[in-house]
């Protein structure tokens, strides 16, 4: 009995394995962030628009905010910019930006040309802040709750669907939750 059953079980096992492994919809680059539920790393950087001013997430302590990592070398960031502008116009939460491994002049031109949805953009020239946030590809968008914990991370350009489906309900929950 087992002699005939075992190969069948092994075959079904392989089928399941292949169905998962070869699924074309599976995103090989998606990695769950170990930082979900952990305190958002604090940072203070120079303002991309003005090197004499600083941008820090400390000033947002106690507030729910969105943290968006972008760069001018990142084509997908260009794609999501209009979505970020639309989100900024909703005035739901501030969007804190991080300009990652970029050229300051180019970044300033980008914001002039495409519009500036950010409450402030930190200029992360050597990627130290990005490393602390576990950034490995732009664009990445994080949601931080009132207690300063990272609640959610979206890796890919932001869209209104993602915003409405993933972010807004969590923002609501974060507002109701932590006092």
């Amino acid at each position: 009995m087992w002699k005939y059953l075992l190969p069948v079980i092994a075959f079904v096992g392989l089928l399941v394995l292949f169905a998962i492994g070869l699924n074309p919809k599976r995103d090989l680059h998606y990695l769950p962030s170990p930082l979900i539920g952990k305190p958002a790393p604090e940072f203070t950087l120079t303002d991309v628009l003005d090197p004499n001013r600083t941008v820090s997430n400390r000033s947002l302590a106690g507030h729910v905010y969105v943290f968006n990592v972008w760069a001018t070398w990142c084509e997908a960031c260009r794609e999501e910019q209009h979505t970020l502008l639309e989100i900024a116009q909703q005035h739901v939460v501030p969007i804190l930006g991080l300009d990652w491994n970029d050229d300051r002049a180019r970044a300033q031109e980008w914001l002039r040309e495409l519009g500036d949805p950010y409450s402030g953009v930190g200029f992360d020239q050597n990627g130290r802040v990005a490393i602390n946030w576990g950034v490995y590809g732009a664009p990445e968008t994080y949601l931080v709750d009132r207690k300063g914990r990272i609640v959610f991370k979206h890796i890919a350009p932001m869209t209104m669907q993602v915003w409405n489906r993933e972010f807004l309900p969590r923002i609501e929950a974060a507002r109701r939750g932590g006092a």
């Binding site: 769950p32 930082l35 491994n101 050597n126 990627g127 490393i131 576990g134 490995y136 590809g137």
Partner: protein, 153 residues
């Protein structure tokens, strides 16, 4: 004509190299340093650690081998932590806390990875049992005839 050819080729080659390398070089000089650490013991640990970290941009390369900018920054981070006197465990921990277990090429044995670590031994065991049973079954089979030695001249 004969002399001009290698010269033209050299110029074309140099232009191509400049084109291919121009951007990374311009970026590599941005904010971090790459090069040997003065202390050979630290350099050895640096090599060891960076070969055991996965570059998250090109996921099949180590941080040591990758040309990605993030890899260069992670190398700089490792270098600084070594110079600051951090232990290997602290450095691996730093990476794991930020990028998850995926960043480690040698993930520790725990509930999630025990299957990966155990699978080769499990398969070896299964294979061993199968071979043992086949051999035992065959050794019990009667020999049907004398071995044929072929026609004798």
């Amino acid at each position: 004509m004969r002399a001009a050819r290698p010269l033209a080729a050299a110029i074309a080659g140099a232009a191509l190299a400049a084109l291919l390398l121009g951007t990374p070089i311009a970026r590599a000089t941005g904010g971090y340093v790459d090069g040997e650490l003065a202390n050979p013991a630290l350099q050895a640990r640096y090599e060891h650690i960076t070969h055991r970290l996965r570059c998250l941009v090109c996921q099949n390369e180590t941080v040591a081998d990758s040309d990605a900018e993030l890899a260069a920054e992670l190398r700089a981070e490792v270098r600084q932590m070594l110079l600051a006197g951090k232990t290997d465990a602290q450095i691996y921990r730093f990476m794991k806390d930020r990028y998850g277990e995926f960043v480690l090429y040698d993930p520790p044995v725990d509930a999630k990875t025990v299957f990966i670590w155990g699978a080769p031994f499990a398969f070896l065991l299964i294979g061993g049992i199968v071979v043992y049973r086949i051999v035992r079954a065959r050794s019990k089979m009667p020999l049907d005839e004398e071995p044929d030695t072929g026609p004798t001249p």
